[in-house]
């Protein structure tokens, strides 16, 4: 890796690490960007060249995760129906979340304690929704009705996923996330006609 890249990666990591420490020790709002910069040995001005804002520090894997999700969506393109694709992806993420359970839970506690972070999380969900809508759209073909169906389905999908995650977080990550996920996707598939 070229030197420049290396340094940038290092600075980025330093900022993330510094932020993580402070956020978890003193809380998000109690931490100023100046403090993070001081810890990371970087100027304030430079900070904003690495992160759009303070919130972004709380979601360092945002782009990674989205890209992985997109890749998985593409990969699941030839499954029998869209939901089956999601089921597979769900297994993957469920496993990953279970493995990193402690860190992820801590992260989520942080997010849930700060409205601004909750808002950012919704923004992320929106990205995922759009990604799914695009994928589903390819399946459903042309026409306004297909478009609507794809978007409805994506909306419902992110809705059940988020609800599932919240439940899992609330139960301290104890339940089997893969199972919860399948239950959620059953709902998506079968609907909620009681």
């Amino acid at each position: 890796m070229p030197l420049r890249e290396t340094k940038k990666a290092a600075v980025r990591q330093a900022l993330i690490a510094a932020a993580n420490g402070r956020f978890h020790r003193h809380g998000f709002e109690q931490t100023t960007i100046d403090e993070i910069c001081a810890d990371a040995g970087v100027s304030r001005r430079t900070f904003f060249r690495y992160f759009e804002n303070k919130e972004a520090l709380a979601f360092p894997h945002r782009t990674d995760r989205l890209e992985r999700f997109l890749a998985l969506l593409d990969g699941a393109d030839q499954s029998a129906n869209p939901v089956d694709g999601l089921r597979a992806i769900c297994q993957t993420f469920a496993h990953e979340y279970s493995v990193n359970r402690v860190a992820i839970l801590a992260q989520q506690r942080l997010v849930d304690s700060v409205p601004a972070l909750v808002a950012r999380e919704h923004e992320i969900d929106r990205d995922w929704e759009t990604a799914m809508a695009t994928t589903f759209r390819r399946r459903f073909g042309r026409g306004a009705a297909a478009e609507r169906r794809a978007r409805l389905m994506a909306g419902a999908a992110i809705g059940v996923i988020r609800a599932t995650m919240r439940y899992w977080y609330e139960k301290d990550g104890k339940p089997d996330l893969a199972r919860l996920g399948q239950e959620a996707l059953d709902g998506l598939e079968q609907g909620f006609l009681s």
Copy 2:
């Protein structure tokens, strides 16, 4: 109405009106709170006694709408199944939105042009989701499974509703919102098994 109440209502309206004008003329971010205060003839400090933040000005009906929704949810409590309740409520709101179409569209254009406002909108959706989850929960009875089902359903519901609204906005409010809503709720009820 006691004088004090009257005055407070007047100030609130003045602030909303001032903000609306500026927001639509110059945009949300280009408008400072000071300018709004000047227009409304009120001090900055007072502004923050009426609104939590600048964003709140863009959703003056937030609490009204939520309360109406809660009331309607309560009212629809004895419909055959939860989705039928939603169908009725959907008709009501669809009608209202169609009537105030122009204003609502303008408002939405504003919201969509500012990330911070989009974020607030998600926050509002979250309130609605919680409201629905609580209602559904009453239907589904006790137990963790019922709880999960209620939450999944609420998540899916808000998901399809939001997707529908976005579609409607995107089409400049031309489509029949009531029909779109029913289509969305069909999806919620029947699922998306293709």
